[in-house]
Each structure stands twice: as structure tokens, then as C-alpha cells.
């Protein structure tokens, strides 16, 4: 056991929660909206329940989390809230049926777990936070358990933008939206895709942002050479602090071979009742087209390297035990890492462990339990390492080296290739033309009349939505490519239409109104940010 008052090092757990804006009022149900509903049930609500436990039990735990503007806007949207509630009610119906069906069999324990899980989700969603999960995160931020960051307005890939006004708009629109949802400005930001290029920091400074995260080599390859490598924050030339990702703690969770989520006792993602169930039974719980899809109830565990048909029944109790064990292992490794680093560096390291939030719960079902165990163990069982957030760390340690971090991202190979390659490079000439046109609009119409202002606001929304890095990412991964192409082209088409109608002075109010109804993000947007 560590002796002494100061720890060997600090651990900053960081979750990046993001989904592209997938609200589709033009359809009564839409597959991509399910991304949101699944993430709410599997990730965001379990995280809120974990935070609730921290508050109830007075756990000295804290972590940092981004909630991107599109995610906040969707969480606060009444139509999506109602659709999610309807989804939850149907899932609760399904759990009742499943309890009966699985009675006496090896799947019954999982069915019981789902019954409780969806009931808890509904209680948290509907009763506790009035159907708006942002309220929950705001509450726990005010209580000091979580530091909520913002992100680019629509997760646009900043280093691949051509105009300064577009980079500035991504940051300023995000900061304004954050104020709307959280009642104060953001202290920190998760740069979209962790993508940095020298100079980006000055736009963060303009928005009053104090810190951001960057990949390991963003700091390690910075200039001048960083005295503490990626294990202490650095100040950029603008004065904004950059915290670098720790590769080792990332690998322990992310790695497909060594990572915890691949354990044999954890829930298998690819066996879902939506595909396994008897069709007549499951059909009422599918979309109205009747096509089999995931419904969110999975009864098998990973088992091992076996075919999907040979997966064994999932045992929630065993999985929970394994999550506790993995949390202990992760903490043990961080303790030793901190001790070693302190001996080498001569100062307490700040180990930054960032992950996609949706890994915890959606992909790794037991992930929220892992986080819960981990943070409670760190708080109660030891004192070698201490949980921290960037504002806390910067408040405690105020002198840091100043460097210019290197261009980098957290994508494959560490730079921009995931978002710039043969599968998606065609989008940039169009996005950049729209950037230039948007800047032109803001300068042409400094004092627009009412309808012009509506058109300019909508043009800004369409440009922002087209810039979402998710579309380029999806084109690279090869999944759902048509949807990504459609979203890119549709938003650009709408933007170009608005631009031409504005400059040719032939605005069509019904069409503008239709677009406002479809793409209703950022009601507070100010197009002058592009001037």
C-alpha cells in the first residue's frame, strides 16, 4: 500500500460521446435513429445511473466526458424523446414475453436482467430527467462528478477545412449550444476525431476554452521536445492546454486481441433476438417493414473463437464478476505505470485514458459496470493513483511546458488518412466550395431581412451538417456508405439551393420552411459567425 499523502500519479478517464444528427421527421421510423435509442439504453442512461450511484454513495470519483452538440440537440428534441419512450415501452412488453418464454431455461437470467434494465432505463429517462438526458449530465457536472466538454458543432474535421470562418464557426456554434444546454460556457473540448493542426488552438482560445485532448504523438512529436512526453499537459502557443492520450491504457481496452471487451464471459454483440427469435414472435417489435434487425436483447456470451451458432448462453452474474476483475486489473496496471513514470519523470504523471463513450455499453455491454467498479475501487481501495479532470489537474499543477503540438488524429495510422482517401476525397471540393459560399453570404448580407435571415441560418445548418466527419468515416469503413453519401449530398444540395436563392433574390418560403422542419438543429445559430 502506498504511503504518503500525494499519489504516484493521476488518472483522467475521458469518454467521447457522439452521434451524428440522425433525426428524420420525414419518416415515422428510421433505422439510423435507432443508433441514438440503442446508445441511450446501453450507454448514456447506464452512465447516468452510475453517476447517480456516485452521488448517493458520496464516491470521490470524477471523469471527463464530451457530449457533442448534435447529441445534446437530439437528447433535447421532443420528437426523438417521444419516439425513444415508445421504443422503451415496446421493449418492456418484449421483456415480459421473454420472461415467460425463457422460464426454466438457460436464458432466463438474461431475460430477468433485461426486464430490470429497461425498467431502470425508463425510470431514469422519464421520471428522473424528464425525458431530457442533458438535464442529468448537467446536474452531475454541477455536483462535480463529471466535467462535460463540447466538441465541434457537428464533429467537422477541422484540419481539412479551407476557410478560417468555418473552423471558427464549428467552435463558436458549439460553445453557444453548450451554453444553451449547460448554463455556462465549455471549459474543454474534444476535437472532432482528436484531430489537431497547428493553429487550431487559437480558435479554442477565442471561445474561452481552456483545454483539449490530443493523440499521444501530437505532443510527443511537438516542438520543442516535450520534457515529460505525453504524461503531463502542455500549453499551446495560444495558452490552451493539451492533454495527450496514453497509449498503454488505451490498448488495454481497445485492442481486439488483448482488450477486455473480448472476454469469453461478456455479451456477444452479434447474436440478437431480432435475428434469433421466431419470426412471428419478433415481428411486432421490428420496424413496420418487418425486416429483421437488432432489438437490443442478446442472450449469448462471446464464448471464444467459435461460430455464432456455437455461442453459449450469457450469464449476467459471471459477466459482472469479470467486469469487476478487469477493473481491478486496469487499476493495478495504472498504479504500476504511475509509479514507474514518477520515478522516471520526477513528477506525478497525468495518465489520460480516452475512449468512445459508446464502447461502454453499446459495444461492450458490461463497460459501464467496468467504469463503475474502476472508479469506486480507485476512490476507496487505494491511494497510489487519483482520479482527476483537466480543470482539477491544471488548478493543482500550474506550470507546464509550452510547445506547438504536431498535426495528428486518433484515427488509424495517427493522421488524417481515415478522413482523406480514395473513398471520400471527392467530398472536399464540394464542402470547401460551400465554406467559401457561406462566408460570401455572411459578408453580402450583414443586415438580412427576416426571410433572408432564415435562409442564411438554414444554409449554415446545412453546411454544418454536411461537414460531419462521420460521413467521411463511414465511407472509409465501407458500412452504410449510401447513407453517408446521401447525407453529404442532400445537405450540400440544400445549401447550394439556399445560396442561389439568396444571391439571385428568389427565396421560396415554403421550401425554406420545409428545410427548417427537416434539419432543425441549432435553433440559436447566428450566421454572422461566418463573416
Amino acid at each position: 500500500m502506498h504511503n504518503g499523502n500525494s499519489p504516484d500519479g493521476y488518472l483522467a478517464m475521458v469518454l467521447h460521446a457522439h452521434l451524428p444528427y440522425v433525426r428524420h421527421p420525414e419518416h415515422p421510423e428510421f433505422l439510423e435513429e435507432d443508433w441514438l435509442y440503442e446508445a441511450m439504453s446501453e450507454t448514456y442512461i447506464p452512465l447516468l445511473m452510475m453517476l447517480d450511484g456516485f452521488e448517493r454513495d458520496s464516491v470521490n470519483a470524477c471523469f471527463t466526458m464530451s457530449l457533442t452538440p448534435p447529441l445534446c440537440e437530439m437528447m433535447a428534441d421532443p420528437m426523438l424523446q417521444d419516439r425513444y419512450l415508445a421504443k422503451l415501452i415496446k421493449l418492456q412488453e418484449l421483456t415480459e414475453l421473454e420472461l415467460k418464454r425463457t422460464h426454466g431455461g438457460p436464458f432466463h437470467a438474461a431475460a430477468q436482467m433485461y426486464k430490470k434494465h429497461f425498467a431502470d432505463c425508463r425510470e431514469t429517462f422519464e421520471q428522473k430527467w424528464g425525458k431530457n438526458l442533458v438535464n442529468g449530465f448537467r446536474h452531475y457536472q454541477e455536483k462535480g462528478f463529471v466535467e462535460v466538454m463540447t466538441c465541434g458543432a457537428t464533429h467537422g474535421f477541422l484540419p481539412l477545412m479551407v476557410t478560417e470562418s468555418s473552423v471558427r464557426a464549428q467552435i463558436q456554434v458549439a460553445a453557444k449550444n453548450y451554453r444553451k444546454h449547460f448554463g455556462r460556457g465549455p471549459r474543454g473540448i474534444w476535437l472532432p476525431e482528436c484531430a489537431y493542426a497547428p493553429g487550431v488552438d487559437k480558435y479554442l482560445r477565442e471561445a474561452g476554452i481552456d483545454f483539449f485532448f490530443i493523440d499521444t504523438h501530437g505532443v510527443s512529436f511537438g516542438t520543442p521536445r516535450p520534457r515529460y512526453g505525453p504524461f503531463r499537459p502542455v500549453f499551446c502557443p495560444s495558452g490552451v492546454a493539451a492533454f495527450a492520450r496514453d497509449a498503454e491504457s488505451s490498448r488495454q481496452v481497445w485492442s481486439s486481441e488483448e482488450g477486455y471487451p473480448g472476454d469469453v464471459d461478456y455479451r456477444e454483440f452479434y447474436r440478437d433476438l431480432g435475428y434469433d427469435g421466431e419470426y412471428p414472435m419478433i415481428k411486432p417489435f421490428l420496424h413496420s417493414d418487418g425486416v429483421r434487425r437488432n432489438v437490443g436483447m442478446k442472450y449469448h456470451r462471446i464464448t471464444g473463437k467459435v461460430s455464432l451458432s456455437d455461442k453459449q448462453p450469457y450469464n449476467p452474474h459471471n459477466a459482472t464478476e469479470k467486469a469487476a476483475s478487469h477493473a481491478g486489473n486496469f487499476m493495478f496496471n495504472r498504479q504500476h505505470q504511475a509509479k514507474w513514470l514518477k520515478s522516471v519523470l520526477g513528477v506525478e504523471p497525468c495518465i489520460v485514458a480516452p475512449y468512445d463513450a459508446e464502447l461502454f455499453g453499446h459495444w461492450w455491454f458490461e463497460g459501464p459496470q467496468f467504469l463503475n467498479f474502476l472508479m469506486r475501487k480507485i476512490a476507496f481501495d487505494q491511494n497510489e493513483i487519483q482520479l482527476t479532470t483537466p480543470p482539477r489537474f491544471l488548478d493543482k499543477f500550474r506550470r507546464h511546458q509550452m510547445i506547438e503540438p504536431s498535426a495528428s488524429s486518433w484515427g488509424d495510422k495517427g493522421y488524417y488518412e481515415v478522413w482523406l482517401n480514395g473513398a471520400n476525397d471527392w467530398i472536399y471540393r464540394h464542402l470547401h466550395a460551400a465554406e467559401i459560399r457561406m462566408q460570401d453570404l455572411a459578408r453580402r448580407f450583414p443586415h438580412p431581412h427576416h426571410l433572408q435571415e432564415r435562409a442564411m441560418k438554414q444554409a449554415a445548418r446545412e453546411l454544418l451538417l454536411a461537414q460531419s466527419s462521420d460521413w467521411a468515416f463511414i465511407m472509409t469503413t465501407g458500412t452504410m456508405v449510401a447513407y453517408a453519401q446521401k447525407r453529404t449530398r442532400d445537405h450540400l444540395h440544400r445549401f447550394n439551393g439556399l445560396y442561389l436563392q439568396l444571391v439571385e433574390n428568389r427565396l421560396e418560403e415554403p421550401w425554406i420552411g420545409d428545410l427548417e422542419w427537416r434539419d432543425n438543429i441549432f435553433s440559436e445559430i447566428d450566421p454572422n459567425v461566418y463573416a
Binding site: 493522421y415 488524417y416 488518412e417 456508405v481 444540395h493
Partner: protein
């Protein structure tokens, strides 16, 4: 480092016709509301997901009464009580088939009620212009060794070129990208195909380039048509520049990084020897809220 598995559903094959820009069509209100009648935009992803399903076991026919949408929970419970558990091979219980609706029980399993398959229709979105009436050249780094360059020549540059040069010269010209690095007056010329509109250039890390586009005339001189801005490639290794107040040897830093799990590929050494520390006047300066911290705390924390 791994590619984060953000994309959720599995699996439509990659498409190759992404660059399918269509003609500019200034919209009219009535023509721009097609979505309500469009097929689902998600069609492309539906087919792949099924590949991951276990092969469905051959099952006997479900009774008529279980087909279609059952309206109430009670009705569903009645049916589900009699459906087999996933744990056991499904075997139809004769009690499940109610007399009035029962068809003669087949001697061999009948097919399941027909399940709809995902639509084959793919909607790749609305038309966008092929060009924007501009003359422009843009270059971006993809990584330390590659730049992406694209251009558009629709803003009158070609017409101006024709004013000064004969059609024969222009039509037979060698179109090139001129690549100049780090203020070096020497240039490298890369032949391009003008029609393609974009190019990837293999370059050196941590270098600033200026890329221009033009043609080589019959005298062998470069005629500039599009002027580019500066673009820098990222660093691919630990910097050789040290801050005298925060000294760490390159070897030590690399050892630190290796021990912390950084991929060796990201630690490729940069050529050249160590450089002396920059004088303080050349170091970046702190501004903003943390600058006062620097002044106040300097020397108070043991380093």
C-alpha cells in the same frame, strides 16, 4: 493504434462510384421535396447484416394464429408461452395449433412465414454541382508523407491563358504541379492529368510546401495557371529542437514512449543531428489565462 469501431451496423460492400457528381440544378421549391416519396436511405446496409446471423435451423411452420401483428400483450403471451425456448431445439406442440384455423399438418416442415428482405434500391442523395465556377487549387496533408491536391479551372483562367497563348500550345502542353519546399527556390514538377482534378503527392515530413499548377511551354518554362497556398506536412518523429528549460534527450523520450506503448512505427527517427536549443526569444510565448500561472509559479515547482 486501432481504427475505432464507431460504425455500428455491419456491412455493405464498399462502393466505388462515390465521385458521381451531377449537374448543377438550382432548386425550385416544388422539386426539392422528394424525401417523403423516397425509399429508405438505409437500404444499402441491410443486406450485409444478415451475413452474420447463424444459419437458421429448419423449423416447422408457425401456426396461422401467430402470424402477423398480434395486437395485445395478452394475446402475445398466450402464443409465446407455447413457443420453444432458445435453449432447446424447436418442436411444434400440437396444442399450439388451434382447431378452427389449422391447416392439415404437413409431413415435412413447411417454410417459415415469408420474411421481407431489404430493398435493393439505393438512394445516394440529391444532385450536387460538378464545379462551382471557380479557379482554385487546394492542398492538404494526409499524413507526413502524402499531400492531397485538387483543382478547379472554371473561373476564367483557361480563357485568360488562351488570350496569351495559342490553342496549339495549350492543347499540347505538359500540365504539371510545381512543388516547392521550405522556401527552397528549386522546384519539382509532377506531371498530372488535368481532367482528373486531383492528385496525391509523395513528399517529406515536417516540411512546408507551396504547390502551384501550370503548364510547361515549348521553351521548357513553367507558366503558372493556379497559385496555391502554403501547406505543411506533420512531423513523423520526435523533434530535434530542445527547450533549455525543459531538457530531455531524444533517446530518453523515445524510451519513455516505447515503454508506454507507442507504436515503433511512430518513432521513426528524423534525419539530422541534434540542434541547439532555441534562444528564449524564439520560443512560443504564453498568452491568455495561463500566462500568469507561468509567471507566478516559475521556479516554485521542483523539476
Amino acid at each position: 493504434m486501432t481504427l475505432k469501431p464507431k460504425a455500428r451496423k455491419i456491412v455493405a460492400p464498399p462502393t466505388s462510384d462515390a465521385n458521381a457528381a451531377q449537374g448543377d440544378q438550382p432548386p425550385k421549391g416544388e422539386a426539392l421535396q422528394p424525401e417523403a416519396a423516397e425509399p429508405d436511405a438505409d437500404d444499402s446496409k441491410k443486406s450485409g447484416r444478415r451475413k452474420l446471423r447463424a444459419a437458421p435451423p429448419s423449423r416447422p411452420a408457425a401456426p396461422e394464429s401467430t402470424r402477423g401483428v398480434l395486437v395485445t400483450l395478452d394475446e402475445r403471451l398466450k402464443v409465446l408461452e407455447k413457443l420453444p425456448s432458445l435453449a432447446t431445439p424447436p418442436e411444434l406442440d400440437s396444442e399450439m395449433v388451434t382447431a378452427p384455423e389449422r391447416a392439415p399438418r404437413p409431413s415435412v416442415p413447411a417454410p417459415l412465414p415469408e420474411e421481407p428482405t431489404p430493398s435493393e434500391l439505393i438512394d445516394r442523395g440529391s444532385p450536387i454541382p460538378e464545379n462551382y465556377g471557380m479557379d482554385r487549387l487546394a492542398a492538404f496533408p494526409r499524413d507526413p508523407q502524402w499531400l492531397f491536391v485538387y483543382w478547379e479551372l472554371q473561373g476564367g483562367a483557361i480563357d485568360r491563358l488562351r488570350f496569351h497563348h495559342s490553342a496549339e500550345i495549350i492543347d499540347n502542353a505538359r500540365w504539371v504541379l510545381r512543388v516547392r519546399a521550405g522556401g527552397d527556390a528549386r522546384a519539382t514538377f509532377v506531371d498530372i492529368d488535368l481532367r482528373i482534378g486531383q492528385w496525391y503527392l509523395h513528399v517529406t515530413p515536417a516540411t512546408t510546401f507551396v504547390i502551384d499548377m501550370g503548364l510547361i511551354n515549348q521553351q521548357g518554362h513553367f507558366v503558372e495557371v493556379l497559385k496555391g497556398k502554403e501547406v505543411s506536412t506533420p512531423s513523423a518523429g520526435v523533434s530535434s529542437i530542445c527547450d533549455e528549460r525543459w531538457v530531455i534527450l531524444r533517446d530518453e523520450l523515445e524510451k519513455l514512449l516505447k515503454a508506454s506503448g507507442v507504436s515503433p512505427e511512430l518513432l521513426s527517427p528524423q534525419p539530422g543531428s541534434e540542434r541547439p536549443a532555441l534562444p528564449r526569444s524564439e520560443l512560443p510565448r504564453a498568452i491568455g489565462i495561463f500566462s500568469s500561472y507561468l509567471l507566478q509559479q516559475q521556479g516554485t515547482e521542483k523539476k
